[in-house]
Subunit: 330 residues, 4 copies
């Protein structure tokens, strides 16, 4: 694939005419302050030149916009005033599922006190079984918003359906879950929505497929994507999923986007969450997302893996120690 | 979980009142000519009895409606006049993607002549890469419909988005693809649509998760689901996916629903499609879905794995031989 | 890598001198009636030519002797008077473990009657747990030999340790099990022993690694290797392993060696063994190896997956039907 | 399974008689200063009591000696004067393969200077391909011994064959590699040898199978086993293997044995070794084993993943920082 980075303010009308009259396919994108055109196949792209083109570059990887071949400096993403991908390691914490206002607010205050920067919580819940608790939906989003207003923490929560896009206009960061990691229409809509996106890796997706999923969002002119590793499916059953820290770091060598780890879902058990969280930040994760519940034993979902606020506080202190030993902050 | 199968024509008003006033959760379903109520948790379900209940039975597996614990006879599904799950092994064939009318009609006639009963073809295409050919969408569905009218073969084609439900009202059998195998909202909508469904297994889904996905459809009172194994993700790379014939047959031991195999996607290479197709029917598949293209080498997608019409005809003859050796027909 | 196939009866002394004085590495092998030299790296091999060389050919795959790049016709292997890799599909059957003389002889007679050509049975047993029954060892081999003498069926049984090579001089076909599939010293010793080898694929080995394991045997001038697929490790747990029929057939497209399937170990449950056996022969397996026990419920190992003699007989009749539908015999 | 821990110095003759005359199976083991008898099945074990028995306890896990159900305090293992499993995190470093004296000594001195406590190096090399460099064998062990004498670092090196046991009498710690992780005869012989063992997890072994492999060694009265996670086989190919840090820590919750991580083999690429090493110690590994070569680009094996001495020194400083942030030392 070829990427044309256009001169700032240049007249692109002749270039567009050349593209239209060629047999090349192309897509125009506004991203990171640049106007960019992705053109393929190479044989057609190579025939085109125009005064409006500042840089014409061949991109080897199948995710040109997400690749660090053209954009070498790491991308920093702002969720309100929280920056992801910079010196600070950002921690999002909160309940697996929003169950009610009190539960959500209790957790929100506790995780904020312990040092979390973002509030997580599931309103729309993708559940394996149709008879399980399916989340509060739009009402859950409202509860999160309220907890956000009270604590000042921006909210990250999961979208499951293209029909719900309007509800997510009030959300600070939109999460694409593992089961929708290749729901391409949803990726495109979330790209168009323009909000920062936390993109989970599908449990059977290669790193390359994950980065191509992010390309669906970036190619809609939304460059604010954080890649979130949450464990892959393997034969091992002593943990729920296998957190692929190597894959997360391999992604980081290929992209300018920040990376996040979710230690809760792969652990499946509270006692392993600490180890996986510490491992992830030591490896170089820019962000963590952790499940915390005031009373995990009565949680409506994932009761085995949610931390108590007390345990989360202990973990935050250990995270701070490790992160600062490696020259970063929380 | 408990299942109450209700007496035909019984007054259910007192039962409904008992359920509402209990702390049980429940879902009422009309399926296979019966009215059924799924009730949980067991401790609450056990407390309830009522004159309208014919059978009250505990179901051990997490997919009560799909389980053969309560419905022992195999389910036969009608797609227009084609019956799936009976004595005949049904073959669906056609192009990976609908590219144009001529290509589709040519293939449709060829596969019909060779013995196929259903026409397959992708209109909405889930593509790993945003810059790949994404399918013709609604126009593709119209082309399929036309080819169906000309050949008399019912059509099976994939849905990707809850917003497209209306388009699929004209389709004979709706396919849920591997990447949407746990897109639970889509499963529910397709359940409500009431059309026969070909439900592919997600590439990282266990057999139990696959059957729970089918339960999303059945619990919307749509019992017409065919389970389609299409290869799982493993470490092996000499094939594109690993066709899990053992998993397909293991599913059959737990459910009354028919099973289908897709030998094209796991093969990834034409030369292996024959072997996997023959293996699948020998193992006991009720249906096959196979990609055929008039000129695979210029196909807009999956060009490596589509059969020519000639090769498909050879395969059909071998399938007939194997199937008849085992006492079935094509 | 390069392969020099030498002229029959040619004087190789000058070639050997050239090789010794070059900086190439090489290995001389007598196989399939030819003298062959494997030479690497290519840059060095290309410099060498000699009158004794009939064919000098570059081999792309990392298993030159096992590859069908140089030897296109399928290899037929004789285990006494039983030919594997020809028109007939060969079935080996017998108990998971040899438990005593009576059990072994009873099964041997039953499987012979049903149409098996080879007797299988474990004397040395690789058990996951140190406190499980570990097999009868050398005594087990003697019992097999006796059953072989009485029934006229050649014996295939597993070797686990290089120190036991002498015991296996009396065995007709030596099996390398999945857990020793990359025990390279054992592969080499079995190569030197010169007996036909049934080489199981390691449960985490790619097809390419499996073929390289066979190359360890072939490079010791023993070309009598049958490749046996027995299921790979995947996330799916409704079967014990995932029988990779696609991988087995992919191997066959790359090698001249015959392929075998073991449907018993992946099935893990009796009810699935039939389906996997039929699938394997329909796909093109040249051989099957199946566990049969007179009383599976009291077997000392693998009691869940061993067939009764009666069930085996039913299966053999179905295998015969499928195989003959595809133009082969049992 | 039952475990009888015997009274120190008690007369066991009547117990042994009772066991012999019962229909129980049993194994007597001297371990951690105790005499222990493993007895099964439970129904038989429960019938036996005797004055010599101090504790009679049912063990739920299939690895009674390795389980922390009976031995709660962590086991510390001494390799000469180096203690593994205590407060200090132990680092073993050295070349993938011993190539010659100079290379080995150069690396040994460099890794010692940087803070490594043990010297690693391969003399017997399990290579996927028969035409690859197979290691120097016994000569390689002698070179390691010499480097050990000059630097004072104990040596850990891999055994591949039961026939080589005598050579390993001079080695300080014996490694069982991933490909021999279920070579049960080798495990037993290494148990009998009595040397400390570094037991790698097989690339397709579950944590439970890995612990059962360690039980083969412990049941030969050798309690000095360190469990080494080195990456499992998954579908992901951007790394060579998937380092299963979750599985390593899950093992630690079930056993008293120390755990080690090998970040070099799963990384496959130098740039990922640092991240995986830091992640492992942050998660709680008691030991690391890392490949270092004076000139990785010309190494005879694994040239892509070996660190230079300079890079190793940088890594050691980062490891020290992380480990000390978590209250341990190097």
């Amino acid at each position: 694939m070829y990427m044309f980075v256009l001169k700032s303010g240049a007249d692109t009308s002749t270039l567009m005419e050349k593209l239209k009259s060629s047999s090349a396919s192309y897509k125009t994108v506004d991203i990171y302050g640049k106007k960019v055109v992705i053109v393929w196949p190479d044989s057609e792209a190579e025939k085109i030149n125009d005064d409006s083109i500042e840089i014409s570059t061949k991109v080897k990887r199948p995710f040109p916009l997400a690749s660090n071949e053209w954009k070498k400096e790491p991308t920093k993403i702002k969720v309100k005033d929280v920056e992801i991908g910079g010196e600070k390691v950002v921690v999002a914490a909160g309940p697996c599922a929003v169950e009610n206002e009190e539960q959500t607010l209790t957790v929100a205050k506790a995780v904020k006190r312990a040092g979390a920067s973002l509030l997580r919580g599931g309103a729309y819940k993708p559940r394996t079984n149709p008879y399980s608790f399916q989340g509060l939906g739009e009402q859950g989003v409202k509860i999160l918003k309220k907890a956000s207003d009270e604590t000042g923490m921006p909210v990250v929560t999961e979208i499951m359906d293209t029909r719900d896009i309007d509800v997510f206009k009030t959300v600070d960061m939109v999460q694409i879950g593992a089961r929708n990691a290749q729901n391409f229409n949803l990726l495109r809509e979330v790209g168009k929505l323009g909000k920062p996106v936390l993109l989970k890796r599908g449990m059977a997706n290669t790193v390359e497929e994950w980065l191509q999923a992010s390309e669906y969002i970036l190619s809609e002119s939304n460059g604010n994507v954080v890649l979130c590793e949450r464990g892959i499916r393997t034969f091992e059953k002593s943990t729920r999923f296998t957190l692929d820290i190597g894959g997360m770091i391999a992604a980081k060598t290929m992209t300018h986007l920040p990376v996040c780890a979710d230690p809760s879902h792969p652990a499946g058990k509270r006692e392993l969450v600490h180890s996986l969280a510490l491992a992830s930040v030591a490896a170089g994760a820019d962000m963590l997302i952790i499940e915390v519940h005031p009373h995990p034993e009565v949680a409506l979902s994932d009761s085995e893996q949610q931390l108590t606020p007390e345990s989360f506080e202990v973990l935050m202190n250990r995270i701070k120690a490790v992160v600062s030993a490696l020259g970063r902050k929380v």
